[in-house]
Structure formats: structure tokens, C-alpha cells
């Protein structure tokens, strides 16, 4: 069978992108290989580790579990986009402050996932934060510092002392 391809047109981090893609190429390979956006990491490539977490049409998804061809007409935001807009500048600062990463491989996925909690706005218990992050593996930190950083950002935002975009 020949490699089947299709044209797609979508928005990635606010910019219009049109490409012809192989229908079997998953979204993360498209972002990394075709667009050079290597902030989105591939760990397990079967939806267990969460390193490839990105935002598609406003919802957090596993990038390795979507085909690029499925995002025709969609709006995709990666860690590069989240960084550029400053949406989670406070969370990033909290990660640095609390040393919530060591090797950093899981960090883009952790930030993308935690960004959903920050967007929701409400204070969360540590147990709730852990449940929300349970789909993201970290092999370095033991999670404690990650939960600390997310909790600190949530608290600061709830007390009106959080991010200003």
C-alpha cells in the first residue's frame, strides 16, 4: 500500500499552517518533525505517560493519540504557545522556585496538564491536584515538588496575586 496523504489546514499557537500529511502520522510527529515544535515530548507513544499533552480546540489531549489529519480546521496550542502568551508564567516561575523538575522531560506535559487546573480557577486540595496530574509520569521528582508548585500557583491566583497576562 502506498502512503496515503491528505491536505490539512489548522492553527498552531495562533499561526495558520497548511501541509499535506501522511494519514498515519500522529499529531506529535507532525508538530515535531514538520513544524519543528520539539517542546512536545514523546515518551511511551501509547497514551500512558502524558509527556505529549497538548491543547486541541481548547481541550487537553494526548498528542500521540490523535492523528494529524484529524486536526484539520482545529486550533492547536503546544507548550511553545503557552509559554509565548504568558498564560502560565506564574506556574513556570513556581516550578523553578520549587525545583519541580530535574531532567525536565515530563515538564511540558505537566505544565499543559496543570494549566487546565489554573484555567478552571478554583483552589484544589493536594489530593485533587494529584488526581488531575495522575496521567502524567515523572521519574525524577517523586511528584511532591510538582504538586507544591501547582498548589502555590493556584493559591496565588485565588488570592488575586497570580498571573497577569
Amino acid at each position: 500500500m502506498n502512503e496515503e496523504t491528505m491536505p490539512i489546514s489548522l492553527t498552531v499557537n495562533g499561526e495558520r499552517v497548511s501541509r499535506r500529511v501522511s494519514v498515519r502520522q500522529h499529531l506529535v510527529d507532525f508538530l515535531r518533525i514538520e513544524l519543528g515544535l520539539t517542546g512536545t515530548h514523546l515518551g511511551c507513544e501509547h497514551g500512558s505517560c502524558g509527556a505529549c499533552s497538548i491543547r486541541v480546540d481548547g481541550a487537553l489531549v494526548r498528542g500521540c493519540l490523535m492523528l494529524a489529519v484529524q486536526t484539520d480546521g482545529s486550533e492547536v496550542v503546544t507548550i511553545e504557545g503557552l509559554d509565548a502568551t504568558g498564560e502560565i508564567a506564574d506556574l513556570q516561575a513556581a516550578f523553578v522556585e520549587r525545583n519541580a523538575l530535574q531532567c525536565g522531560f515530563c515538564t511540558p506535559g505537566m505544565l499543559m496538564t496543570a494549566a487546565e487546573l489554573l484555567r478552571a480557577g478554583a483552589r484544589q486540595t493536594r489530593a485533587e491536584i494529584r488526581a488531575h496530574l495522575a496521567g502524567n509520569f515523572c521519574r525524577c521528582t517523586g511528584y511532591h515538588a510538582v504538586v507544591d508548585a501547582v498548589a502555590a500557583s493556584l493559591d496565588r491566583r485565588a488570592s488575586g496575586d497570580g498571573n497577569r497576562v
Binding site: 500500500m1 502512503e3 487537553l60 494526548r62 493519540l65 492523528l67 489529519v69 487546565e116 495522575a134 496521567g135
Partner: protein
């Protein structure tokens, strides 16, 4: 790994899907949420010739209540089911179960119909469907038919759906005065269960008048605890009743063994959950308002 080569069709409507299924049968795979199919493709456990993407078919979406039953469209995503006021009001069992279904990013894509059609033994929703006496509507180019949950799940990821049929919606009757309890054990929140149950009980004057005790993550398909139910029918809920149900459970379940748990351990854990669930049902019957 990367998915194998396949052809891809972004279906524009139901008739197109049914035509493609008719023409390609078992060579085709339906792509809904993709949260189980995509891993299977990435690992090359599945190698379909054709992928039929149904994500843009509006007719398969939505959750509604009408004429005493809740309709859950096949494409209703887990996040929608989990936050649906209709589900919370009429199907508290499913509302309880949704907390355990996967991780946030997976819930945003995964669909109700996908979970039912895949019929993974460790999945929550097939067990809920069995406990709630759901009916599944499947369509082919020849027409539609309904399949009762009790007849639908045949074995490990095997159902009564034929290769030319598409699951289009689930219909769940809303019953009066039922108490529901959902419990599961998993090693990590959101992971596949190693034991779990979905109970629906009718209590009259404090006695168990009827119910459905569905167990999952132990057999190759969700399984009713018929002997366990018989052991508690007509009884008042309490510690002694729970022990009778647990003793009878050994006659209902013959759990599978895998890397996560032995058969003996699973049967033990289902007993532990049964004890907790009946205690929870008793507590609910004395404190909480029941389903409408």
C-alpha cells in the same frame, strides 16, 4: 512505535459510515475517541486497512432525557458524561463511575460508545450499562436493532455488534427509588481497575427487594452476581447480609489471572468491595435522597 499504513476517511454522515462498513467489514476500524484504538495502532496490535473517523458526525453526539430513559450518543465524550446534569440527576451510578474513568486528557477525547463497543473487561462503563439494564442501538445499511446489555458483552473485547454495524447510541431506563454504588480498585487513580463493581439496588422497608450487582475487571466481560443477589434478596442490609453475599460470590465469579492480580486475589478483592458497597448502600438508604 508508529501506526501501520492505512486508508483514512473523515466520514461526513451516518449513511457514508454504514456503506463503508458494508463494503469493508472487518478490514475497517471505527475511529471515535481513539484512546484505545490509537495505542493499538501505535503498537501495531491492530492493522486495519481503513480507518473511518466518525468524530464529525453530529447525529452521534449529545445526552438527553426523554420518555423515561436517558439517551447517550455514541460520541458523547467522557468529560461530557461526567459533567452532564442529566446523568447526575437520572444516572447517579454512571456519575459515580466517571470519576474513575481514565485521566483528564483521555476523558476529553474518549467516548461512551467507544468504551461500550470496545468492551474491555476492566472498563467501568460496560459494567454500569449491565447494572442499569441499558440497551445499545446499532445501525447497518439494513437498518437498526437494539441489543440488551446482558446480550451484548460476549467476551474479551468481543460483543454482539456485527462487523457491518455501528453503535450509535445507548438507551438507559430511569428506575424509581434505586440506590446505586460504584467502587473500584486501581493501582493509580485513573488506571485500569484490578477489581470493581457497579450496583443498583431497590430497597423496600429496608429490605433488598431487587437489584443488579455487576462486577468487572475480574471476568473476561462484565458479569452479574446472581447468586450474591439471591443471597441478599429479602434481607435487611447489614454485616451478616454482606458476608452471605461474599460467600455466594465464589459461585458467580471465576476471575482471570494476569500480571496485575491472581484469580484468588481478584475474588478476594471483589468480596472486599462488595462488603464496602453494601455498607455504602445502607448508608445511602438512610441518608441520601434517592433517584427521582
Amino acid at each position: 512505535m508508529k501506526p501501520p499504513k492505512f486508508s483514512y476517511v473523515r466520514a461526513g454522515g451516518l449513511p457514508q459510515v454504514l456503506e463503508l462498513l458494508e463494503a469493508n467489514g472487518q478490514e475497517a476500524q471505527i475511529l471515535a475517541g481513539g484512546q484505545s484504538l490509537m495505542p493499538a495502532l501505535n503498537m501495531r496490535l491492530s492493522q486495519p486497512k481503513l480507518l473511518i473517523d466518525i468524530n464529525r458526525i453530529e447525529a452521534l453526539k449529545g445526552i438527553s432525557f426523554e420518555a423515561g430513559q436517558v439517551r447517550i450518543g455514541a460520541l458523547a465524550r467522557h468529560v461530557e458524561v461526567a459533567s452532564s446534569p442529566t446523568v447526575r440527576q437520572y444516572l447517579p451510578l454512571i456519575a459515580e463511575a466517571m470519576v474513575h474513568v481514565a485521566h483528564p486528557a483521555v476523558r476529553n477525547r474518549g467516548t461512551f460508545g467507544g468504551s461500550i463497543a470496545l468492551a474491555d473487561p476492566a472498563a467501568e462503563l460496560p459494567a454500569c450499562a449491565l447494572a442499569l439494564e441499558a440497551r445499545f442501538v446499532v445501525a447497518s445499511s439494513e437498518g437498526r436493532r437494539e441489543i440488551a446489555a446482558a446480550d451484548f458483552f460476549k467476551g474479551m473485547q468481543t460483543t454482539a455488534r456485527r462487523p457491518n454495524e455501528l453503535l450509535i447510541e445507548t438507551l438507559i431506563p430511569v428506575r424509581q427509588n434505586r440506590i446505586s454504588v460504584f467502587l473500584e480498585l486501581a493501582r493509580r487513580h485513573g488506571d485500569f481497575a484490578i477489581a470493581g463493581l457497579a450496583f443498583q439496588l431497590l430497597l423496600e422497608d429496608g429490605m433488598v427487594a431487587d437489584g443488579r450487582l455487576a462486577y468487572f475487571a475480574s471476568e473476561e466481560r462484565p458479569t452479574l452476581g446472581l447468586r450474591a443477589l439471591a443471597a441478599i434478596r429479602g434481607q435487611r442490609l447489614g454485616p451478616a447480609t454482606a458476608e452471605a453475599a461474599i460467600a455466594a460470590l465464589a459461585g458467580d465469579l471465576a476471575p482471570i489471572a494476569n500480571a496485575q492480580a491472581s484469580a484468588k486475589m481478584r475474588l478476594h478483592l471483589q468480596g472486599v468491595l462488595t462488603r464496602r458497597a453494601l455498607a455504602a448502600a445502607h448508608a445511602k438508604s438512610t441518608s441520601q435522597p434517592r433517584t427521582p
